[in-house]
Every structure is written in C-alpha cells, then in structure tokens.
C-alpha cells in the first residue's frame, strides 16, 4: 500500500479563486492511501517545494500528488523536488487544476467538485505507479540546419563558433534566402547584400560548416541526440567539386530566355546559371526544364567551354545519410500568390508588382540596374500607389488571418527610398493600420511621412484598372475624410502577405513536430520556450515559426543555436523511462507489436522457459529496446494477449483513472 501525500496549490488566486482548495485538500485526505494532505499558495516556489520535501521525509511518503497547473508546466520541477529527497521522480503525478479546471470554469461548487475528481484520478494512478529509472543515450556532436537563409546561416555560424560541426541543407542552388533578394534594410537603410554576403562567405569558409546546397531532407529517423537524416542532393548537372564559378558556361549558353526566379521573373537568365554574383557556393546549375542538351540531346556548348570539365549531363539525384544530435529548422517564408486578388489587376498588368518584385526593380543588381522603371514600357513612374495588407489580416479564405508584421516597415522604406531618389514621384500608401513597433521603427515611419512627404491614406484600395494609355486607375476610399479617391498611377505595389515555405509542412511530418493552422511551426511554449519545438532536439529559427523581420530572425537564430549547443555539449542525455515493456510469460510472439512500432524498437528473441512439468522450452518473445522506444504505446493496444504495457501509462493506471473519474 502506498503512502500518498496530496499537495494542493492555490497558484495565487489562479486556482483558489474558482476552486475551494482547502475543501479539495480536506476531501482528498479521506482517499485510501492518503496519509498527508495540505494546501499552499505557490507549490512551485521554493518554500512550496520544501513543504513537499519535508512531508516526504516526515510521513515516509511513497507517492506524491500535486494538484496544481498543467504537468506540461511544472511536472519536471516537482519531479526534481521529490528526487532530491530520495523518492523516485516517477512516483509523482500532477492533477491539472489550473488549465483544465479553474481557468475554464466559473462556478466554485462544480469546479471544486471536478478538482476533487481530478485529484482522485491522480491518486488512483499513483497507487499503481512504479519507480522508473531513466537510461542514457549518447549525443552525436553534429547539428543540422534546414534552410540557408539569414536564420540558418546565423544559427550555423553560432553553432560552429562553439566548436561543433554543422551542416546546412538549402533547397536552392545558393544560400542567402530572401535577404539576398532585398535591396535595403529598414530602419537603417543599409544595403542587405553588404551585410549578408560576408556572412554567406564566412559560412562557406568555416571549416566546421558544410553546406549542402540544392538539397532537400528526404527522411528523418531517430530521436534527440541521435537523428539519422537522409539528404537528397538534387542533380544540378554540374560537378560541385570541379566548378570554379567562372561563369563562362552562362555566357555561352544559347538558351537565354529562362525566367530568372532570383529577379522574381522580371528578366531572363540562361539555362545554365549561377543565381547571382555573390552566390555561395558559386557553382553553376543546369535547369533541366530549359537545357537543350537535357531536353533534346542537342547542344553541349557548356561542356565544351568548361575548362575544368565540370558539366555532367548524366548526373543523378544522390542520397546521403548523416547522423546529427540536434536539428534546427529555418525554412523561412514566401510571399503568397496573388492570383486570387484580381481586384488589384496583378495578373493583368506588369506594372502591378509585389513588394519583393519592387525590391528587385530597385536593386542595383536587379533587372534595371537599380533604376526604377515601369516593367511594361521602361519609363520612369511618376505616381506610385502602395497597397498594404494584401492577404494579411484577412477574414476570408483568400488570405491569411494574421498580420505579416514586416510590410508596414518595408513599405515605409520603399516609399522613402523612392522619394529620396526621385523627388518628382508622388507616393501614396493605403493602409488599414500602420504597425511599427520596434526599435527606431516608428521614428522611421514618421520620417517617411514628415520628411519625405509620403501620402499615407487610411483606407483600402477597391479596384485597380489598367487603362489603354498605360496608366492604372486606382479607386480607393479615404476612411478619415470619407471620400472616394481616384488616382492615376504608373505603378501599384502590393504588400503581399507572407506564408511559411511550402516545404515546411512535409518537413514537420518527417520531424514529428507540430504546426499551427497557418503552417507555422509551433514552439514548445509561446513565451518561455520560443525557439524549441515540442519535439526534443528540434529547434526553430526565423520566420518558419512566425512572421519576423531581420533583427528578430537573427536574434531567434542565435537563440536556437544556443539551445542546440546546450544539447550538443552533453555527452549523453537522459532517456524517457516511460517506454514499453513486454511480459515475457504472456507474450506469444505473434509480431503484432512489431508491425505497429514506428521506431523499430521491438525485436524477437528466443528465450528459454521452464515449463510446469520441469522441462524447458524455447519460445519466441518480444523484446523492446528502451533506448529506441519513444513510448507512444501503439504496441500496447496491438498486443492481443496484453503482454505489452507502457511504463508510466500502464493499462491498470489508465483504467484506475477512468474508474476514479466515472465513480
């Protein structure tokens, strides 16, 4: 018989306001096996923990029930506390009286009644708890960063600085991500390339960093400290080890009409290409959709001009397997497709562009060499209309419900840059709200209005109509003066909402991490663990977790790196002892459990048994590898003979909880 102590927490007034904590402690005192019961204001505080520790010593408790907040919050805290006085940490259960009782109910009588039942269920479970000892598993001292944008680069640099090997997987032929496409950055207006490209080079030259460009994650197996990742190195038809990036092939390639995705398809590139001048690695790639040799087998110019013989038309996708201790996800974002926004004539007129396209149009390395010209007739625009929140803060299914966060600032930047370079150009910005929280952000926006004379109009653009004279008729409402506005614009710039990269969803499935409804990765705790995913060993960096500007991304990237380094520094990590185990006497070796195990943790061994008639017989029985088992419990249900059970969540424990709740 267990000797159980019950500790009811007030959590200030968080629990005590809706649950009569004293009554709960009193009632639970009468449960069988409970030898001590008390309540205290903050059980998680040091004095609260001391109450638990003292009671364990004084009353020789063998089991502890803490009625407090969610076990996701403080289970670890209390486990540590009971372990410090010699009780097995797994002899503790937490009844969730805050998140799942006091915070959701208003009536004190019914909430107290429910609290008692939740307490009873925890007591019933503790009765059946058994001491568990956690095993240890080694940590592979190497990290993987998925995504080579500014977030991934920063994370990799920080991890490498700490002395660990780190691999970057980038799906594009070069690292750099979205920041490489940006012209200037807010609020300082320094050039993005000037601050990004040194970092790209630093990453390439760091001997601890290995860049797998034009590669994807094909498969992830394993668990924290010991992931096995299959990397798909996509065929680029150029031997990475030989190519020097001289660019001769790109000059001679006869196929010159390929839309240049780096310049947002605003100009053309060749079929064999290097994405941009500062690309890292500076290695060409052949686009098989356009290459005449790969399509028709006729051409081969690039292989003739290549002096190092790097061109390889027969190259195949290659799969390599690597082992990692920690994985950092930095898959970033993309602007949404605007094909559902016909009212802005995005697909009708080339002069209606997205902000990222404008970024390329204004970039010195862009299609116009930095001179802002209308894409349609290459003339200088005199009136430019910016439309904010295109697809952001949207109630309907067309757009995204969230605020994309960066658009207000980059629009102010664009407006300011245009007014500075072309003072004869009138700039209108249509907004719902201007949101500029951040260091020096509001000052920046006010400068755009006050110093640069950008016309900010509160209201939305209703319709953009391309006219035959090449102008764009913009119809909008000014909500403050309640007037309808008609503007003849030369260009319209749409601040498209940003969304997580499309590769993030399948990646989350492979990594068994959680995502929210918008496909942003969910952090382990929204406030206290913002760079960790709920899956141990997987960390989040940058805009894959939510819309972010560059400083925030870099800060989060370094934070994720710090977390990964913390993990890699350890030689071994404590495993979860709540794993499956099989009762060999009951097991009939049917293989049902093996078939459902997602980790391949179950094997079969031949074991000698003494039979009742004193003979021995050899039977095939299941055996669980506790280092590989993750404790999902799929096998426990599949087992027809009931031999398989899960530590910490055993059949009898859950049944006891069911009984306590239903009684």
């Amino acid at each position: 018989m267990q000797r159980i102590g019950v500790f009811v927490c007030h959590c200030g007034t968080n629990i005590a306001a809706t649950v009569d904590v004293k009554a709960v402690a009193e009632t639970l005192k009468n449960e069988s096996g409970v030898v001590f019961s008390t309540d205290y204001q903050y059980m998680c505080s040091e004095s609260g923990q001391n109450i638990i520790k003292d009671a364990i010593k004084e009353h020789k408790l063998t089991g502890v029930v803490v009625c407090s907040c969610s076990p996701r919050m403080h289970e670890a805290t209390f486990r540590k506390a009971v372990a410090s006085v010699g009780l097995n940490p797994y002899m503790l259960e937490v009844a969730n009286l805050r998140e799942q009782c006091s915070w959701i109910h208003k009536d004190i009588a019914t909430a107290t009644e429910k609290a008692v039942i939740l307490g009873r269920a925890a007591i019933a479970k503790v009765h059946l708890n058994a001491p568990l000892t956690a095993g240890e598993s080694p940590v592979v001292k190497r990290a993987l960063v998925i995504g080579g944008g500014i977030a991934g680069i920063q994370t990799a640099l920080d991890i490498a600085d700490a002395g660990f090997d780190v691999d970057i997987i980038e799906k594009e032929p070069t690292i750099g991500g979205k920041m490489a496409q940006i012209d200037k950055t807010f609020p300082t207006l320094d050039c993005a390339a000037c601050i990004l490209t040194p970092k790209m080079v630093e990453a390439a030259q760091n001997e601890k960093i290995h860049i797998h460009s034009f590669s994807e994650v094909a498969d992830v197996k394993g668990f924290v400290g010991n992931f096995t990742v299959t990397i798909k190195k996509k065929a680029r038809f150029v031997d990475e080890t030989k190519c020097t990036g001289c660019g001769l092939c790109t000059e001679k390639c006869p196929m010159k009409k390929v839309p240049n995705e780096f310049n947002m398809n605003l100009d053309n590139r060749t079929a064999v290409y290097i994405p941009f001048a500062q690309a890292v690695p500076k290695v060409a790639r052949i686009d098989p959709n356009y290459c005449l040799m790969l399509k028709n087998g006729k051409c081969g110019v690039c292989s003739k001009v290549c002096s190092v013989g790097a061109i390889d038309y027969k190259q195949q996708d290659k799969f390599i397997e690597e082992r990692y201790g920690a994985i950092v996800v930095a898959t970033g974002f993309n602007p949404i497709k605007l094909d559902k926004y016909d009212e802005f004539a995005y697909s009708l007129s080339p002069d209606v562009v997205t902000s990222l396209e404008l970024e390329r149009l204004m970039n010195a390395a862009g299609p116009n060499g930095g001179t802002l010209l209308r894409p349609s007739d290459k003339t200088h625009p005199h009136t430019i209309v910016f439309v904010q929140c295109v697809g952001s803060r949207c109630d309907d299914s067309k757009g995204k419900p969230y605020c994309s966060k960066i658009c207000c600032m980059y629009t102010a930047k664009h407006a300011m840059l245009i007014r500075e370079k072309y003072p004869d150009t009138e700039v209108y910005v249509f907004y719902i709200d201007v949101r500029t929280p951040g260091k020096n952000f509001d000052e920046f926006y006010r400068r755009a209005v006050e110093e640069y004379g950008v016309h900010y109009v509160k209201g939305m653009v209703g319709k953009v109509t391309p006219r035959t004279d090449g102008k764009l008729a913009v119809q909008a409402s000014d909500l403050l003066s309640n007037e309808q506005l008609h503007i003849d614009a030369d260009m319209v710039v749409l601040a498209a909402a940003i969304e997580p990269d499309k590769t993030a969803r399948p990646l989350a499935t492979m990594l068994t991490t959680q995502m929210d409804t918008n496909d942003f990765f969910t952090e382990a705790h929204p406030k206290l663990r913002p760079v960790e995913s709920a899956t141990a060993g997987i960390f989040l960096s940058g805009a894959c977790q939510g819309p972010k500007d560059i400083p925030e991304t870099v800060a989060q990237a370094s934070a994720a790196a710090a977390k990964a380094i913390g993990l890699l520094c350890k030689n071994s990590i404590t495993c979860n002892p709540c794993v499956a185990h099989s009762d060999e006497l009951m097991c009939n070796g049917c293989s049902s459990c093996e078939k459902v195990c997602p980790y391949g943790a179950i094997t079969y061994i031949d074991k000698e048994f003494r039979m009742p008639d004193r003979t021995t017989a050899i039977r095939r029985v299941a055996s669980v590898n506790p280092a590989v088992c993750q404790g999902c419990g799929a096998c426990t249900v599949a087992c027809p003979s009931g031999a398989m059970d899960l530590n910490g969540f055993s059949n009898s424990q859950i049944m006891a909880e069911v009984d306590a709740i239903c009684k």
Partner: protein
C-alpha cells in the same frame, strides 16, 4: 413526501488527450479562459494510439455517458503514425459499440492541435450538448459499480 426537484442531467464525459497536441490544446483553452462544461474530465495519454478499446468499454461500464478521444491532426502525430492507428481502431470500435446499442454520438474522435485551444473548447461544448441530449448511458453501465448515494 419530498417533491423531487428535477435536476438537469449532467453527463460524465471522459476525454483521452494525447500529450503532444490535444492535451496542450486543452491547456491552451485554459490559458485563454475559454469555458467548457465541468462534465469533461481529461486523461493524459502519450498518444491517441495508447487508448485501448478496453479503456472505453471500462468507462462505459463504470458509468461514463460519453467518451472522446483527441489526437494530433492526421500527418502531425508526434510518433509519426499513432493517430492513424487510433483512427482505425476507433472506427471499428465505434461501429461495434453502435451495434450493441451505444449511440454514435456518445463516442467521438477529434483532432485538436496544440494551437487550437478554441477548437478544443468548442468541441467539448458541442460534445457535452450531444451527450446531454442522449441522456444517461444505460446500455453498458454496471450498476454494481455505481456510487452509493
């Protein structure tokens, strides 16, 4: 003789929530102070695939009026495939329960992610209403287990 006050039927509802998504979703609905009835009591399991059909039968035997199993959305399972097992098992179990007279509305499988606090509360409100409409579970309840009152 005392006049019996007609008390509204308060069903006992057992919710099995997976640790990674739905339990966190339930916590989030608490953090956001979204109300749902006290009838719902949550049992934490590592994964929806840990829910043995025996637990559900046991709940009905002990007088539960409804049982709901919540897990990660298909494809999002922390253990890769656990919720698929749960989905198959529960489909079979629920059709068997339906066959022996436990109405379909007393049992449910719902996918609630860790970010869907509002969905969790809404689901529990809706499910409690549905079970209330059906009245007490009489089919599988073992009266010997009933609390003496």
């Amino acid at each position: 003789m005392q006049v019996n006050e007609k008390k509204e039927f308060e069903p006992v509802i057992v919710a099995f929530c997976c640790n990674w998504c739905s339990y966190a979703g339930a916590d989030l609905s608490g953090t956001n102070r979204l109300n749902y009835p006290t009838n719902v009591k949550i049992i934490r399991v590592p994964c929806s695939c840990r829910v043995n059909p025996m637990f559900i039968l046991r709940a009905f035997q002990r007088g539960a009026d409804g049982v709901i199993i919540c897990g990660c959305h298909p494809g999002d399972c922390h253990y890769t495939s656990g919720n698929y097992f749960a989905r198959r098992r529960m489909t079979l179990l629920f059709s068997m329960l339906d066959f022996i007279g436990i109405e379909r509305d007393r049992t449910r499988v719902e996918w609630v992610s860790a970010a869907e606090g509002a969905k969790f509360a809404a689901t529990m409100n809706e499910f409690t209403e549905a079970v209330k409409k059906l009245g007490p579970n009489r089919r599988l309840e073992d009266l010997r287990c009933r609390k003496q009152s």
